[in-house]
């Protein structure tokens, strides 16, 4: 059963066909996923206040029902260190088609993974794990399973990745917290089962994984037509 707040978000997002990032993150935090601290601002004053509350450096992203792929319209700016850059960024992003605000979020670091879901016609919700970031469709280093998943399935998915060594510590880099990653994948598969009637596909990309935790840095939820 979906929580009431979540149903309300889906209701409101129906006209766009997808859920805007701040709402998607709200859904995820309601279900216990870790997300970076964030605020949404439309004016200079709001932006500066939000950024100071979170603490520089921050990342700024366009919020617009017309922009599904933010990077494609240069709608993501990382590493903003001061008020001046932030205000300049707001001025530029506010000119983008459908501007509905600027999301300001804590900068998180880690190994970039993608955790996704697709509502398959024949098999229902399928869960995807792969190397994330903007290169996801270039490297295509992914593993797929039918939801819902058990911890063992999540384990197999990690083992299937060509880049699995990057997760377990490669050339002196710290290994990521595999338990946290498996928990994220399994919990996400259950959330997808709950959302299967309304959701077509989901990209959590990137999910930032470190030795400590897995944080969903961006989320896109596409709704069924």
């Amino acid at each position: 059963m979906l929580k009431k707040e979540v149903k309300a978000i889906f209701e409101k997002s129906r006209k766009w066909g997808w859920v805007l990032e701040p709402d998607a993150k709200k859904i995820l935090s309601l279900y216990g996923f870790k997300t970076p601290k964030f605020g949404v601002a439309a004016t200079e004053g709001e932006a500066v206040a939000a950024a100071r509350k979170i603490g520089y450096p921050v990342v700024a992203k366009i919020v617009s029902p017309a922009v599904v792929h933010k990077s494609d319209v240069k709608g993501v700016v990382v590493g903003i260190k001061d008020d001046e850059t932030l205000v300049r960024t707001l001025a530029r992003l506010s000119k983008i088609d459908g501007f509905a605000g600027m999301l300001i979020a804590e900068m998180v670091k880690g190994l970039e993974l993608i955790v996704g879901a697709k509502n398959d016609f024949q098999f229902g919700p399928m869960i995807l794990l792969g190397m994330g970031g903007v290169g996801v469709e270039i490297y295509k280093d992914v593993s797929l399973r039918m939801a819902p998943l058990k911890t063992r399935d999540a384990d197999h998915m990690i083992q299937e990745l060509a880049a699995r060594k990057l997760l377990t510590g490669y050339r002196g880099s710290e290994p990521v917290n595999l338990n946290a990653l498996k928990k994220t994948i399994v919990a996400f598969s259950h959330l997808m089962m709950d959302m299967r009637d309304v959701v077509e596909s989901v990209d959590l990309n990137p999910v930032m994984c470190t030795a400590k935790s897995c944080i969903v840095a961006d989320a896109r939820i596409m709704l069924k037509k």
Partner: protein, 455 residues
């Protein structure tokens, strides 16, 4: 839903026989079953009369017996009426051979017969199919008897959305010595689908391996099928076509683009302990080996060969298939060496593959096989047997299978398949060792055993 009358009918009505055209599908089906199979066959045509001096009944209801299986081969528009007759007469199962339903834009006609059958609880196969073939029992394929290639009776049941692919595999199975339990062509699979057949075949004593050729599942149907296959104690093998069709559909999320229809299919199938055959070659090899051996292996292969080249080819194929070919320990090498004939001992190289050379005789193959059968270093033996080696006799198959049976470890043979070597090949196959006609095929068999997970 009871499918037994469909596969083991005692009485059968063939509906739609022609008085004038003996090549009409219904006539072919009537003729090939009448007096040939242990089933009483009745011909039906609204005009009545007689066919080959036997009565043609105007309606199913007028047949003086309860009908287990009705084979419907009339024009599509007439099928709903015929089905109503069958239901009224208490027919227990049907196959609708006729085409001209959803595949020809008449989904409405198909929906009508499905609704009728569902309400009446009449299981039917099709429409637009060949129906069922069960060795020594029944054959509803409208292929003239002299044109059919029938494999030996055996353990594989093949269920296919395509009749043509099914008949082709019967030919391949016959060529390769793979025995069949049943062949089922499900066509438009309007009512009985893969899942219902799985439920029946899981408990069918004749069926050891369940093989499917699948073009696609309906909405959510794939999920139900793989979950059912996962808990089935028999190996399930699937071959899929249409892997590339939906690849270029525009999608707006990365996941939807990466988790395309076929990628999702392959992942869901593998996750649920179903063995996917990606080619016809794999299909035949997998079916053959899984009807011989049920226990899975980890995939440590010991290779015995009479030629270095064959050994090297097999090692490459194993490596491609994700199988290990571990170097034998010194102890194992010594054990083999001590038992070889003197002339071979001096020239054999025993790393893995164990290359016994073209000078080897039966005793060398058997001695080497005994050591490997007992060795914990490997869990499957692949024998590359060249019948043209002068020291190899016709007895080699039966002698090696005796070693295989005693050890309980799976043996797989490669023997070139030409008529001249048939008795040698049968020495393997009739004694339980699957023999492939190619090195690659033999390795694919080992791969199938390694894929199969224990339940």
């Amino acid at each position: 839903m009871n499918l037994k009358p469909l596969f083991e009918p005692k009485t059968m009505a063939v509906i739609g026989v022609s008085a004038s055209n003996d090549r009409h599908p219904a006539n072919v089906i009537y003729d090939k079953n009448n007096h040939r199979y242990p089933v009483k066959v009745y011909a039906v045509n609204p005009r009545g009369g007689s066919l080959h001096n036997e009565t043609v009944y105007p309606r199913v209801a007028e047949i003086p017996a309860k009908i287990d299986l009705a084979v419907i081969a009339t024009r599509a528009e007439l099928v709903p009426d015929v089905m109503a007759d069958c239901i009224a007469a208490g027919v227990k199962s049907a196959t609708v051979i006729s085409g001209g339903f959803s595949e020809g834009g008449r989904g409405d006609l198909q929906d009508r017969i499905v609704d009728m059958a569902r309400e009446a609880g009449l299981p039917f196969i099709g429409p637009n199919c060949l129906g069922v073939y069960v060795p020594f029992r029944v054959d509803t394929f409208f292929l003239p008897i002299e044109r059919m290639i029938k494999p030996e009776a055996g353990g594989v049941t093949f269920v296919s959305q395509s009749g043509g692919i099914l008949v082709d595999h019967m030919i391949k199975f016959a060529q390769q010595g793979v025995g069949m339990a049943k062949a089922v062509s499900i066509g438009n699979k309007a009512f009985i689908r893969e899942k219902e057949l799985l439920a029946y075949l899981a408990h069918d004593p004749a069926t050891k391996v369940i093989a499917y050729y699948i073009e696609g599942f309906g909405e959510g149907e794939g999920r139900e099928f793989v979950q059912a296959a996962d808990v089935c104690s028999k190996p399930v093998v699937i071959m899929k076509s249409g892997k590339t069709a939906a690849g270029n559909r525009a999608v707006s999320s990365h996941t939807a683009s990466l988790a395309g229809d076929y990628a999702s299919f392959a992942a869901a199938v593998a996750q649920h302990n179903i063995i996917e055959a990606v080619s016809e070659n794999e299909m035949v090899s997998f079916c053959e080996v899984l009807s011989s051996y049920t226990r899975p292996i980890e995939g440590r292969i010991g290779i015995i060969t009479g030629s270095g080249g064959h050994g090297a080819m097999a090692v490459d194929a194993c490596s491609m298939a994700g199988l290990a070919v571990p170097e034998f320990s010194d102890q194992t090498k010594t054990d083999i060496k001590n038992q070889l004939t003197e002339s071979v001992r001096a020239i054999a190289s025993l790393g893995n593959p164990a290359d016994l050379t073209g000078s080897a005789v039966d005793d060398d193959f058997v001695a080497c096989a005994r050591v490997l059968a007992a060795s914990p270093e490997i869990d499957c033996v692949v024998v590359l047997l060249l019948p043209y080696i002068p020291g190899v006799s016709l007895d080699i198959g039966v002698r090696l299978s005796s070693v295989c049976r005693q050890s309980g470890k799976p043996f797989i043979a490669y023997v070139p398949h030409v008529e001249k070597y048939n008795m040698l090949i049968e020495g393997f196959e009739l004694n339980g060792i699957p023999a492939s006609s190619s090195i690659e095929g033999a390795v694919l068999m080992a791969k199938a055993l390694a894929r199969r997970q224990s339940c």
